[in-house]
Amino acid sequence: MHDNGHNSTEHTVENGKKGQSCYQVLTAVFIIPTLAILFFLGILSTEQIKYPVLSTVIFLPIAGALFIFLLNRQNESLIKWSCLVISIANFILSMPLYTRFDKTTANMQFVERHDWIPSWGVKYALGVDGISVLFVLLSALLTILCVTVSWTSIKDKIKEFYAALLLIEGSMIGVFCSLDLFLFYILWEAMLIPMYLLIGVWGGPNRIYAAIKFFLFTLVGSLLMLVGIIVLYFNTGNSFDILQMMKTNYPYNMQILLFWAFFAAFAVKVPMFPVHTWLPDAHTEAPTAGSVILAGILIKMGAYGFLRFNMPLFPEATKALAPAMMVLSVVAIIYGAVICLGQTDLKRLIAYSSVSHMGFVTLGLFALNPQGIQGGILQMVNHGIVTGALFLCVGIIYERTHTRQIADYGGAATVFPIYSAFFMVFTLASVGLPGTNGFIGEFLIILGGFTASNLMGVLAATGVIIGAAYMLWLYQNVFFVETNPKLLGHGYGDMDSREILTLLPLLILVFWIGVYPNTFLSFMDASVQNLIERVNTAGQPQVAQQIIEVIK
């Protein structure tokens, strides 16, 4: 080995470690799936699922986190391996949600219902429908990838890091499954803490500022929602039951106020313009796994909240305020896209592109028609896959070069050929090229948006042009043109097998959804139909409804 510089010994050591971890991961890749498949077949062969699926996928990671806390700090590989095995096991255990989900009904499935605090009417109630089920699966999948991508990049406080990761997983899944507002709120807030730590402890140089900003933004929004929740509680016969609320018709003025209260919490999370400024900071400073969870799942919760609460609970307000929401969405699409053109930092650019892409999502949702909403939900999944993958990619190269400045790159395609191919696929998915998942989502959203309002549809479509401009600009400056001297002479290797395996599942999903989206669209069909009916039929005065029935 040539002595290239003062830190060449460090590199040797790192490479050695990498080689070892590759080997371990390879073993894992063969052993664990074999076990998984056996286990999976076991699940399929029995008529009834023998375990409460939702409780399991929520509490296994939380129990896993506690288990990791008990491990010896020195035994790093045991910590990592436990975390990996737990996250994979959790993904496997969540599989019945995919295989046994009844796509023909809009009802809640896999329902679990127990009294929790009877005196307050609080229940421990879980369930999924076509709107939430995909996010449970996506959370379980992304957590595994977060573990593998952090394998060598997280070097201190390893124990706490992996425990936090599992805690986030459990609470995230819980948020998507809760059918009780009290439980929902607890998990919603609980999730903030490990995320705050993830940014604040393992983040970049400006991490404290970013973490506090993230925390305060979301907290302020959530407090308004808390007020809303309490009001709902008293107006639903002292109950936190979401399903019951979905059947209740609240007075119009109250609906409007509650809509805004919940909107405050969700708009910050999405994030919608103009409360988006925490996102670039949080993303830039967060460690790779943090960015992936943030982009992949956390910001989806805002849009999920609109679907789960604002629309079915306050249908009249939703109908009345939808135009305003669509305008905000289109502003986010264009604003987020144009501002990307002025970015110099890889992660910041992708973060702002999230603002634009989430603008598409909310536009689709508030178009209030099947194409818009299904496109919106699919685009939430797509954005989780693609932006998650892009952040993973940035993490992978950052681990080598320790810079996120676009100007420090150039000609990377020569240095990292395999990496550049992966990055290209995700770039194309991000710009919505047909054949990738991004296209299906964006097309359905623009179709839905155009149906609801021609002007909004057309304006949203301009976001697609700008999207191509900034992503291709990014790709060119990082991967094309002459190789930047800063990338040479360090012996940077292309992606190793661990990294390839991290990105591969997402790559497959990009094409799967692009070529055969019906696998995923069919999940939401019934639930979305039901939701639209709820929004459209609400608010017709009782008398009018009776007259209609009489006429029939």
Partner: protein, 642 residues
């Protein structure tokens, strides 16, 4: 036919996957064999499909449901009819020859396998585009060919100009596709389906319907047709979205021949012809198509007159010839347009591959002012290039003559617009002959004007490159013989072949007028050639004197009417400025962040004041607690009471 039609696009896709996945480790410098085999398979199946369609069997076949969402449903499926099979023949033939030629041209390139996998992917995308039976799959092919074009233009990605050109092509095309996409959506909302079969059967119902846009009542069909045409303008490099095509010449020359001459850029023409039932219902849209085509033909031809880069001249020539095809579609002569598309594929691919052969000999030199006398060194290239030039100039008997003549004749028959575009088209015929032969004289005749080193290396290209040239030259001569008009004793077989799909415009004028139209265009073409001999062989100082005398015109043409500069000024810079100065520095940092960070500051200031309430006396706290509790309880009770 349904048994093998799927294989036509699928084989190149398989070839792509084999080479892109295994290229670095396994296929390496043998990558071409996989790629060529795949395209050859598609070529054979295309011939079979052609045979079956010629027997009168057409096919509309759905493979699977692609997207189902609410009442929106679209399939992956194939429509094989007269129009499709001609496109299949064009695409697979030219693609096959370009693949073979590339074996020689790209020999020894470090990204050899990558090049062939992109070519395969392109072939797949183009075949998906032409065989589609619905608008969304068309859009898939449409964007995918654009992507391949992006990859291949920027193939030598280390070169900044190449990477820039690829990006420019992609983004400019997105502008066109923006309109196209909206068009698809409007079709769905008005017809309720985007399958061709539903569209064509129901489009008549839209006649007379209008939509209200910004204070105007716009005819619905016109709106849809023009939106779709936006896509065609982008893809086929028509005014005002033509700017990407000349820059696209940064790609390897076989790519220019395949993508930027014979196939991808003609997709716009194909699309307009495919939707002829729609376009036929809107006179306004038809006129827009015809005028855009005629203007581009004229505009691009004038630029081509003065350029010195051999590939750029041919690129402008492509723009111009595509203009002819749109001109034809715009006067309802879709069959003639597609016929020209088909002959053009042969002679234009030949011109590009010939130029590639010249570049190969000249170590990459592109400036025709630095060439000369190459006839002696590379006879095959010279003869094939000459044949292509004669064909594009419209010399009787060659392919280009028949198709161009058909277009001009049908334009002449097409009312006022037809007469106008006929005159423009005839002028362009003269310009075309001039600039095509300008290349011939400057490149192959006279004395060599390059460096000694270049002169020393001059050689004919290897067989693997010259054989495709010869085959294409045969096409450039004979391809037109399937459309010999009746006045010349032919049966215009191609015109009748297309009739079930594309119809045939009514011809009012008689045979003598047809002879006149033909005579004029031949005379004009010969004049063009004559002037080029005068300028570049007999009196070589004329161009310089003219250039000096009409300096304003010359520099305008030389700078391509300053369109690139204009776009830079009105689009690129304002957007960049908005992004980096306005949004990043002002809106986000100052305004939004200012407010957001201002609130905590305000709270802090407020807290300073409030701190004074914290007196430290227990009784004060007790009183405030009591008051607080009272207020909360009251509120709760009131709320519960409701």
């Amino acid at each position: 036919m349904e048994k093998y039609v799927v294989l036509i696009p699928l084989l190149p896709l398989i070839g792509f996957f084999i080479n892109i996945l295994l290229g670095r480790a396994v296929t390496k410098d043998k990558a071409h064999s996989v790629a060529i085999l795949a395209v050859f398979g598609s070529f054979l199946f295309s011939l079979m499909a052609f045979y079956e369609v010629a027997q009168g069997n057409t096919l509309n076949y759905d493979v699977y449901s692609w997207v189902v969402c609410g009442n929106f449903k679209v399939t992956i499926g194939f429509l094989i009819d007269q129009l499709t099979v001609i496109m299949l023949i064009v695409v697979t033939t030219v693609s096959l020859l370009v693949h073979i030629y590339s074996v020689g041209y790209m020999h020894g390139d470090p990204g050899y396998y990558r090049f062939f996998s992109y070519l395969n992917l392109f072939t797949f995308s183009m075949l998906m585009l032409v065989t589609s039976n619905n608008l969304l799959q068309l859009y898939l092919g449409w964007e995918a060919v654009g992507l391949c074009s992006y990859f291949l233009i920027g193939y030598w990605y280390q070169k900044k100009t190449a990477a820039d050109a690829g990006k420019k092509a992609f983004i400019v095309n997105r502008f066109g596709d923006f309109g196209f996409g909206i068009g698809v959506i409007v079709i769905f909302l008005t017809i309720g389906s985007i399958q061709y079969s539903d569209l064509f059967s129901k489009v008549g119902m839209l006649q007379g319907q209008t939509v209200y846009i910004m204070g105007y009542n716009v005819d619905l069909i016109t709106l849809i047709a023009l939106l779709l045409f936006c896509g065609a303008v982008g893809k086929s490099a028509q005014i005002p979205l033509h700017v990407w095509l000349p820059d696209a010449m940064e790609g390897p020359t076989p790519v220019s021949a395949l993508i930027h001459a014979a196939t991808m850029v003609t997709a716009g023409v194909f699309m307009v012809a495919r939707f002829n039932p729609l376009f036929n219902l809107s006179e306004v849209a038809m006129n827009v198509v015809a005028i855009t085509g005629a203007l581009t033909a004229l505009f691009a031809a004038t630029i081509a007159l003065v350029q010195n880069d051999i590939k750029r001249i041919i690129a402008y020539s492509t723009c111009s010839q595509l203009g002819y095809m749109f001109l034809a579609c715009g006067v309802g002569a879709y069959g003639a347009g597609i016929f020209h598309l088909y002959t053009h594929a042969f002679f234009k691919a030949l011109l590009f591959l010939g130029a590639g052969s010249v570049m190969h000999a000249m170590a990459g030199e592109l400036n025709i002012q630095k060439m000369g006398g190459l006839r002696k060194y590379m006879p095959v290239t010279y003869w094939t290039f000459l044949i292509a030039s004669l064909s594009i100039a419209g010399i009787p008997g060659l392919a280009g003559f028949f198709s161009k003549d058909e277009i001009l004749w049908l334009a002449y028959n097409g009312g006022t617009t037809g007469k106008i575009v006929w005159i423009m088209g005839t002028i362009v015929a003269g310009l075309t002959a001039f600039y095509s032969f300008r290349i011939i004289w400057l490149t192959f005749f006279g004395k060599f004007r390059g460096t000694h080193e270049q002169e020393h290396h001059l050689h004919e290209s290897p067989k693997v490159m010259t054989i495709p040239l010869i085959l294409l030259a045969i096409g450039a001569v004979a391809a037109g013989w399937i459309g010999i008009p009746t006045v010349l004793g032919g049966g215009n077989w191609i015109g009748h072949f297309f009739e079930p799909v594309l119809g045939h415009p009514h011809v009012h004028a008689g045979h003598d007028e047809e002879w006149m139209v033909m005579g004029i265009s031949v005379a004009v073409a010969l004049t063009g050639i004559f002037v080029s001999i005068l300028f570049y062989v007999w009196k070589p100082d004329i161009p310089k004197t003219l250039g000096a005398k009409y300096k304003a015109i010359y520099t305008t043409l030389w700078n391509k009417y300053y369109i690139d500069e204009l776009y830079d000024f009105i689009i690129v810079r304002p957007v960049k400025w908005t992004a980096s100065c306005l949004l990043v520095d002002i809106t986000d940092t100052k305004i939004i962040e200012g407010i957001v960070n201002g609130i905590p500051k305000g709270i802090a200031a407020f807290g300073e004041k409030i701190r004074k309430l914290q007196t430290g006396y227990l009784q004060h706290y007790a009183i405030s607690m009591a008051i607080g509790l009272f207020v909360i309880l009251t509120l709760v009770l009131i709320a519960a009471g409701k």
